[in-house]
Amino acid sequence: MQDARPPMPSLDLEGARVRLEELVDRVALGELCQSFYALFGIAVRIYSSDGALLADTSSEHDVCAYVNSIAAGRAACGATVSSVKLTEPDETGMSVHPCFTGNAYRIVAIEYEGRRIGRVILGPFLPVEVQEVPSSFLDLDPSIDPERAKSLLVRVPRAKPETISRIAKHLRSALDLILFSGHKTLLTSQMHLASVRESYRELEERGKKLQEAFDKLKELDRLKSNFLATVSHELRTPLTSIIGYSEMLSEGIAGPMSAEQTEFVNTIHEKGNQLLGLIQSLLDLSKLESGTMSVRRETLRVEDVLGEVMKTLIPAARKKNVQLKLDSNGTLPEIRGDAERLRQVFTNLGDNALKFTRDGGTVTLRARATGRSGDDDEDGFALLAPARSMIEVAVMDTGIGIPVAEREKVFDAFYQVDSSSTREFGGTGLGLSIVKRLVEAHDGTIRIDDNQPRGAVFVVTLPTARE
């Protein structure tokens, strides 16, 4: 079934419900009628098709005033006016309606796109052929004075039928223009509104779909992390036994072993430890991803952490004949963080640096205080950056370096620049993904630069402790 969507905005672009009232500005229409009245002396009234009076150049002719001063005249006049109002023009679009006084009205249909939406009433005017006051006027009431009636009647503007037709035609074409531009304006504003609504509706729908997809992904991610955590745990328990027993065996606790046996058991022990490291990494990663890794916030000095890291790295450096240096000048501001996790960060980076640096190379850990951080085009950078004080730790090597195109990807889990290199360098590609998450958990950033003339530099920026 269709899901419940908000409906599209409904529009009447076909003009099915177009009404005269909506197309014209009444004031402008009034002015138009007034100008016709001023030009020809013939009154103009405009009605919409449902009978609403939209414009009227009302000014009473003397003869009408006279008629209205007599009771019978008033009644007859009222009857005529309402009959005029109700007259539907014939199929030519024009009709004449006589008045008992001898005057006449012309009723003209207002059409728009082939549909009648109102009418114009021109008059009263005095048809040219009327020379005498008709009996329908004189017989109305004995008090009517024929002389007076005649003198007043002839003051009504005389018009030939062609003249009236011409006036009506002019008025119609002027009205036509007004109606067209009125309709255009109406449609334009309706379209403006409807387009905004429709665009909004579309965005809202897309937003909803994205949110649903996002929620689903998030849930999958959570399940995956849970799964990983459980599995890692289940793997670690038996593995610790393997490592423990192989260690005891190699120590001779279960009796003496031949040199070959000892070598085999030592290999089991070493690989067991490697596997445990890998599982630990996976567990770390899943914890970081699920947001369940706890990062402590204690005040600490980066130099202390780096000192610890140096100690861990020295044996490997010696073995590879790589020179290892620590460079930190002066005292650095303290930072807030988790010493154990930071040690993990820099050990990982140091491990990598040693791994990808050949015999005779150098790996340097360098710590500096720096004022700047953030993107140059960040909003309000000029104000925000000076307010920040940071510590920058660079792990620099003279190894194989990392091509620019790979510098984002190496932080993805399991990504290795040259996967065939696993044979040469080993590893699983988890180290940097953990490093990045840990750095970010400290509100820091990590980037990769070139070292000169060769090698890579991993730059970790961490905020300093604030009061």
């Binding site: 269709q2 599209m8 905005p9 409904s10 529009l11 672009l13 076909e14 003009g15 099915a16 419900r17 539907e88 014939d90 199929e91 030519t92 679009g93 249909a109 059409e111 796109e113 082939g114 549909r115 009648r116 067209f180 309709h183 255009k184 449609l187 334009t188 379209m191 409807a194 387009s195 429709e198 665009s199 509706r201 579309e202």
Partner: protein
Amino acid sequence: MAQRLRANPEAPPLVQLNFAGREVTIKLVYYGPALSGKTTNLRSLHQLTSDESRGRLMTLETRDDRTLFFDMLPLVFRAEGPVQKSGERSYTPSEASGGMSVRVKVFTVPGQVLHSATRRLVLQGADGVAFIADSQLSETENNAASFLDLRSNLKEMGMSLREMPLVIQFNKRDLPNVRPDAEVEQLAKRGREPVFKASALKGEGVLESFFGLLHLTWTRLEAEHQLSRSLGLEADEFLPVAARKLGIKRDVQSLLASCLGNGLNPPPREVK
């Protein structure tokens, strides 16, 4: 007032019929990619029809001649049978006389991709669609993308392409680097929609496409609402009457004959 009839209650409303007011409103929409010549088609149609039957061409909001909302050309005539052979009278539509007034309102949509919402609004309630494609080879992808856009917009309104009377026009035949005639003909033969070639700028193929679409649309409406009965016409008289009332000098059959492919004579549709 005017009521929109439905073939089935689920389907969106189609033609507007107003029996009391004795009028039929047919909405045709010119769809297609940006700059394919939709507005140009309407301008030519305006020029090729007679003064009495057509209203002003309304162009709503443009920027650099690109349509932002829509263009609209109203064509209004009175249909009443039987066809008078000579001594043609010009009628002013009126509720008093017999017959019905037929209002064909032709719209164009804005082709630019970003005006998708507006396209949907204009397409709403269309009785037939002319798809104006740009024949230039370089526009092949844009034509296809716009067609998919039409399909998804119709779907959004609960309509399928199959239900919609549709003709395809390959416009700008006068330009170099267009898909060759033979290829267009081949495509037309294989496709199910009627295809017309046009150079809208020169007015060529414009009436052909329009009457092709009117024919399909009318056939569809006739099948569903037996409109010709209310007009007092024979079913096959509508098109000639329309052409005559619109001041078209050319014979309708010859206009329709320029259609490529067989799409103009669809097998009878089942009406649910």
